[in-house]
C-alpha cells in the first residue's frame, strides 16, 4: 500500500486546521440572537439556601432572565445522573443523593450551582449576578474522608448515612486471608493518591438553541461522547425526546475524561434556550473549570502483600476509601470499583486478591474519571507495593517483578479480568537495556560525588482498555452498552466519508481512522473524511474514553469496511462479467483471478451509483455500509517504564534525568501519534507525582483554584523520553489493537515515586513530591542514617 496505511508515521491531518486557528470549537459557535449565561456559584461548602432575592438583579441592564432550581423543578427537568449501579457487599444498591442541575434548598460544595443569569452580554450577566442576594444558613462541612465517616459528622444527603455511598468488595476474602496465614513476609503500605484537576486546554462550554417552528433543540457542547449526552439529556433529564435533540461536539480541545460527563451547565443552557426563546451560550472561565470540572483520583489506601520466602507473591489485601465529592458524577461510581480493583493483579500471577472500597461523599467537587480512571490508582498501589516488597526482601526490583510475572495466556486473575495476550518479560528486557540499568550503580556513585541522590524506579503497569464488552459491563452495573459504530459512505467519485461514534478531542482520529481506510481501500488518506461528534450525522456512538477508539471504534470501522469490500466485489463482478467469488481486491484494484481484467476502486464506486451494469432488484445500488462492533474482551496494554531521578537534598528539587518507556499496545496504526500519546500521558503522570494536587482547606474552600496555586508540568520539568515498543497482537479485535491513550498517565506516577523513594532510602513521602516535601523527606533521612 501507499505510505498512508497502517503503520505509517503520517503527520496529523487535523493539525493544519488547529495550528492555523481554523478549528471550530464550541466557543466559536455563535447563533443568531444568542444570549449569554453565567452561573452564580456557592461560596460555601455546605449551606442551606434560606432565600434568593432576584429583584435587584432582574432590574440590571441587559438581563434576559434569571432561573433557579425551582424553575427547573417546575418544568420537571430531572437531576443529573450516575449511570453505573454499584452494590455494596451486603447487596444493597449504592446510596445516590439527588443531583439537581441548579441547587434546590441546599448547596454541597464551593462552586455548586445556585442560579443562572442570562443577559445580552456575558459582562451584563456578570454584573447582574452580583446583585443576587442569597441568604445562606451555613452548615458544617465534611472535607476529608476521615471526617466524613466520623460518628456524628454532618450528612450531605439524607439517603446516605455517614456519607457512605457504598461499601463494595471484590475477590475472595477467605482465600486472601489463607494466603496471609502462610506468608513468610508481609509488606504493608499506606498510600494516598492525590486529587487532581483535569485542566483540558479548552474549558467546558455550551450553546443551547431551540427552534420553535420544529420543536427541536440543538446543543453544542464540549463533549467526548455526544450521543451519550443526548441519551442522558433525553431519557433521564427530560429535555426533549432524542429525535428532537441534536447534540454537536465540534472540535474539542482536550478532555482527559472530564468531558465525558453530563454537567449542570449544558443541561441548563439547552433547557433555558426554550424558556427565553433565544440561543443561550456559556463558556467556563478557568477558575470555574477548577471548581466544577469533575476532579480525578483522591484515594486513601492501606495495602498488604503476602510473600513466601523466595519473594513469590501469595496474596494481596487492599482497603481503599475513594472520595466521590458532593454528588455522584456520570460515571463516578465505577471508577474506584470496577475500573480499579480488577487491575490490582498488575502484571503478576497473584493467587488471591481481596479489595474493599468505600465510596464517600464529601463537600468537595464531584470526582470522576480522569485519564486512566481507576487504573492509575490500581497501578500506583500494586507498583509501589512490589517495589517496597522487593526492597524489604533485598531483591532487585526488576528480578522481583520477573519472579511474579504472568507468563501463560490466557490468564484468569482472581479479580474478574482475563488477560488474553502479553509478553511482560520482553518489555522488561528491552526497558532494562534501553535504560542501561546495569550501570545504575555507577551513575548513582557519580551523583553522590556531586552531593546528589540518584534513584531509579520501575513501573510495570497493565491497564484494561478497549472499554468494553457490553454484556460484561452490564453484568457489573453499567447502564449502557460499550460497543461502537461506524458507517462508510463511498461517494460516486471514490472518495470516502467515515462516520464514527468515536470522538476525537486531541487523539488524531482524522488521521488514524483515515489510515485504516487507506490501507483497506487502497486510496489516499486525502480522499477520506472522518465525521464525528454530531448526533444528526453519526448513526450512534458511545464516544471516546478508556482508550477505546482504536480497539472498539476502529474495529467497527473495519467491520463496515469488510461489508464495503463484499458489496464492491459484487459490483466489480457485474462490471468485469465475472462471479464475485472470482474477484480479488488488492491495492485499490479489483481484478478477475487469473486474468488481466481489472477495475479500480473509484470506478467501482461510480458503477455502484449509476447502476447501469446490474439489475437494481438483484443488487441494491450505492456503496454505503455500517457496522456495530461489540468487543469480546477488554484489551490489556502493558509495559515497563523506568524513571531515573536526581535529587538535590539541599533544595529538595527532583530532576528527572532519564525516562524509558517500553509499551505493548498490540498493533499500531500510527507510531508517531502513539508516541505522542505516550509523551503526553507521562507528562500528566509526572504532573501528578511531582507538582499537581487539588487542595481544599478545612472549611471546604478550594485553595488551588487557579494556576497561581495549582502547578501544571512544564517542558523544563520533563526529560527527553526514550520510547520503545514491544508487540503482542490483541486477539479480541480484528485489528489486534490494544490502545495507548492512558498508558503514560497510568505508568508514570509509581515510576517517579519508586525512583524518589529509592534515592531517599525510605518510603515516607507522598505525591506531589514537591521540593518542600522532598526536602523534608531528605532531612528525615539524616538522623536515621546517623543512628544506623
Amino acid at each position: 500500500m501507499s505510505g498512508t496505511g497502517i503503520g505509517a508515521r503520517v503527520q496529523r491531518k487535523e493539525d493544519f486546521r488547529f495550528i492555523t486557528g481554523k478549528g471550530q470549537y464550541t466557543d466559536d459557535v455563535n447563533c443568531y440572537g444568542q444570549a449569554h449565561a453565567v452561573f452564580l456559584r456557592s461560596p460555601h461548602a455546605h449551606a442551606d439556601i434560606v432565600s434568593i432575592k432576584l429583584d435587584a438583579a432582574r432590574d440590571m441592564a441587559g438581563v434576559v432572565d434569571i432561573f433557579t432550581g425551582d424553575d427547573l423543578a417546575a418544568d420537571k427537568i430531572g437531576g443529573l445522573i450516575c449511570g453505573w449501579m454499584i452494590h455494596s457487599k451486603d447487596g444493597s444498591p449504592m446510596k445516590a443523593g439527588a443531583h439537581p442541575a441548579l441547587a434546590q434548598g441546599k448547596v454541597r460544595y464551593v462552586g455548586d450551582h445556585v442560579a443562572v443569569v442570562i443577559a445580552e452580554t456575558q459582562a451584563q450577566a456578570r454584573d447582574a449576578m452580583e446583585k443576587i442576594e442569597v441568604d445562606y444558613k451555613v452548615l458544617s462541612p465534611v472535607v476529608s474522608m476521615a471526617d466524613a465517616v466520623r460518628a456524628g459528622a454532618p450528612v450531605l444527603h439524607d439517603v446516605a448515612p455517614h456519607n457512605i455511598v457504598y461499601n463494595w468488595s471484590l475477590g475472595d476474602e477467605a482465600a486472601a486471608d489463607a494466603a496471609f496465614a502462610t506468608a513468610a513476609h508481609v509488606t504493608k503500605l499506606d498510600i494516598i493518591n492525590n486529587r487532581l484537576v483535569p485542566n483540558a486546554m479548552e474549558p467546558r462550554a455550551a450553546v443551547g438553541d431551540y427552534n420553535s417552528g420544529s420543536g427541536g433543540f440543538t446543543l453544542y457542547t464540549t463533549s467526548q461522547n455526544p450521543h451519550v449526552a443526548r441519551l442522558v439529556l433525553s431519557a433521564f433529564i427530560g429535555i426533549a425526546p432524542e429525535h428532537k435533540l441534536r447534540v454537536i461536539a465540534p472540535d474539542v480541545g482536550g478532555g482527559f475524561g472530564s468531558k465525558i460527563f453530563i454537567y449542570a451547565e449544558e443541561t441548563v443552557c439547552v433547557w433555558a434556550a426554550k424558556k427565553v426563546g433565544r440561543p443561550v451560550k456559556w463558556v467556563a472561565d478557568r477558575t470555574e473549570a477548577f471548581l466544577s470540572d469533575a476532579h480525578g483520583r483522591d484515594h486513601v489506601t492501606h495495602a498488604e502483600m503476602a510473600l513466601d520466602a523466595s519473594g513469590k507473591i501469595l496474596g494481596l489485601r487492599v482497603k481503599t476509601r475513594a472520595n466521590l465529592g458532593a454528588y455522584l458524577s456520570t460515571f463516578s461510581s465505577c471508577v474506584p470499583t470496577y475500573l480499579y480493583a480488577p487491575l490490582l493483579s498488575g502484571q503478576y500471577d497473584i493467587p488471591a486478591i481481596y479489595a474493599e472500597v468505600d465510596g464517600i461523599y464529601t463537600n468537595t467537587a464531584p470526582v470522576d474519571a480522569y485519564r486512566g480512571a481507576g487504573r492509575p490508582e490500581a497501578t500506583f498501589v500494586i507498583e509501589r507495593m512490589v517495589e517496597v516488597a522487593a526492597r524489604e526482601m533485598k531483591q532487585d526490583p526488576a528480578e522481583f517483578r520477573r519472579r511474579n510475572f504472568v507468563r501463560n495466556f490466557p490468564h484468569q486473575t482472581p479479580v474478574i479480568m482475563c488477560y488474553d495476550a502479553g509478553d511482560y518479560d520482553a518489555s522488561m528486557t528491552k526497558a532494562l537495556e534501553m535504560a542501561d540499568y546495569k550501570n545504575i550503580g555507577a551513575r548513582k556513585a557519580a551523583s553522590a560525588k556531586k552531593g546528589l541522590l540518584r534513584g531509579v524506579g520501575f513501573s510495570a503497569y497493565i491497564e484494561a482498555c478497549g472499554i468494553a464488552p457490553s454484556a460484561a459491563v452490564g453484568s457489573l452495573g453499567a447502564g449502557v452498552g460499550l460497543w461502537e459504530s461506524a458507517e462508510v459512505r463511498v461517494n460516486p467519485v471514490g472518495t470516502v466519508e467515515i462516520l464514527t461514534g468515536s470522538h476525537s478531542h486531541g487523539q488524531g482520529h482524522e488521521t488514524t481512522f483515515a489510515q485504516l481506510v487507506s490501507e483497506r481501500l487502497g486510496i489516499s488518506i486525502d480522499n477520506v473524511a472522518i465525521i464525528h461528534g454530531d448526533t444528526d450525522k453519526v448513526q450512534m456512538g458511545m464516544g471516546t474514553y478508556g482508550s477505546r477508539s482504536g480497539a472498539v471504534g476502529m474495529s467497527a470501522l473495519s467491520k463496515a469496511l469488510d461489508k464495503i469490500e463484499t458489496k464492491a466485489k459484487k459490483v466489480a463482478g457485474f462490471v468485469l462479467e465475472a462471479s464475485p467469488d472470482d474477484i480479488e481486491f488488492k491495492d485499490g484494484k479489483f481484478s478477475v483471478r487469473g486474468t488481466d481484467k481489472e477495475i479500480d476502486f473509484a470506478s467501482v464506486a461510480l458503477q455502484a451509483y449509476i447502476a447501469h451494469k446490474f439489475n437494481g432488484q438483484e443488487l441494491e445500488p450505492g456503496l454505503k455500509e455500517s457496522a456495530f462492533w461489540d468487543p469480546t474482551n477488554f484489551t490489556f496494554p502493558a509495559g515497563v517504564h523506568i524513571c531515573e531521578v536526581e535529587i538535590d537534598p539541599a533544595t529538595g528539587v527532583t530532576r528527572i534525568d532519564r525516562w524509558t518507556a517500553v509499551d505493548d499496545f498490540g498493533n499500531v496504526i500510527n507510531p508517531m501519534i502513539v508516541e505522542g500519546q505516550v509523551h503526553g500521558g507521562i507528562a500528566q503522570g509526572v504532573g501528578q507525582a511531582l507538582l499537581e494536587g487539588a487542595v481544599y482547606d478545612a472549611n471546604g474552600q478550594l485553595v488551588t483554584a487557579s494556576y497561581m496555586d495549582y502547578a501544571m508540568p512544564r517542558a523544563d520539568d520533563l526529560p527527553s523520553y526514550d520510547v520503545g515498543m514491544t508487540q503482542t497482537a490483541c486477539p479480541s479485535n480484528p485489528l489486534g489493537i490494544k490502545g495507548c491513550g492512558e498508558a503514560g498517565a497510568i505508568a508514570a506516577p509509581p515510576a517517579v515515586m519508586n525512583a524518589i523513594t529509592d534515592a531517599l532510602g525510605h518510603e515516607e513521602i507522598a505525591m506531589p513530591a514537591t521540593p518542600l516535601a522532598v526536602w523534608r523527606a531528605a532531612q528525615r533521612l539524616a538522623p536515621r542514617a546517623a543512628a544506623e
Binding site: 442576594e133 474552600q701 483554584a705 496555586d709
Partner: protein, 152 residues
C-alpha cells in the same frame, strides 16, 4: 482559607482611655478599613458594611460585628462576618489585650491575635494574594486605632 496574624502596638494613653475608644462605635468605624456603615444594634453588636478591594476583586461585605469577652480595661474579643455576594465571604475575629507599658513608661501596649477566614471567589484568588491583603488590613486597623488614640 484561614489566616492568623499577631502584633502589638504601643499607645500613648492609659488602658482606661484606650478601653473607652475600643468601645466607641465612631472610633471603630473610622479605624476599620473600608467601613462605610457601623450601626449599633445592641449593647455589644453592630451591623456593618465594609468595602474592600482584594486584588482584582472589589466587594462590599454586609454583615455584623460583635464584641465579646469584655474585660474592662484589659481587653475583649472583636469578631465579625460579612457576605460579599459573588466575591464570597469573610469572617474573623481578634483578641485584643491591653497591658501597661513596660518598665513603668507612660501609656500601654495593645497586643492582638487575629484569625480570619475567607471563602468563595476571594479564597480562589490564592493564598499569595489573600495573606498579604489580610495582613495589610489588620495592620491598617491597628495603625488607624493608634493614630486615633494619639489624636486624643
Amino acid at each position: 482559607m484561614a489566616m492568623t496574624m499577631t502584633g502589638e502596638v504601643a499607645l500613648p494613653a492609659t488602658r482606661e482611655t484606650v478601653w473607652v475608644k475600643l468601645n466607641d462605635p465612631a472610633v471603630l468605624k473610622a479605624c476599620i478599613p473600608g467601613c462605610e456603615i457601623l450601626d449599633k444594634t445592641s449593647e455589644t453588636g453592630f451591623s456593618a458594611v465594609v468595602k474592600l478591594k482584594i486584588g482584582p476583586v472589589s466587594a462590599t461585605f454586609k454583615g455584623s460585628v460583635e464584641l465579646s469577652d469584655l474585660d474592662p480595661p484589659n481587653g475583649y474579643r472583636i469578631s465579625g462576618q460579612g457576605e460579599g455576594g459573588v466575591a464570597g465571604f469573610a469572617k474573623g475575629g481578634a483578641t485584643v489585650h491591653l497591658t501597661d507599658a513596660p518598665d513603668g513608661a507612660e501609656g500601654c501596649v495593645l497586643s492582638y491575635n487575629v484569625e480570619a477566614n475567607v471563602g468563595g471567589k476571594i479564597a480562589q484568588l490564592g493564598a499569595r494574594l489573600i495573606d498579604g491583603v489580610a495582613k495589610k488590613t489588620a495592620d491598617q486597623f491597628f495603625n488607624n486605632f493608634a493614630n486615633a488614640v494619639k489624636a486624643g
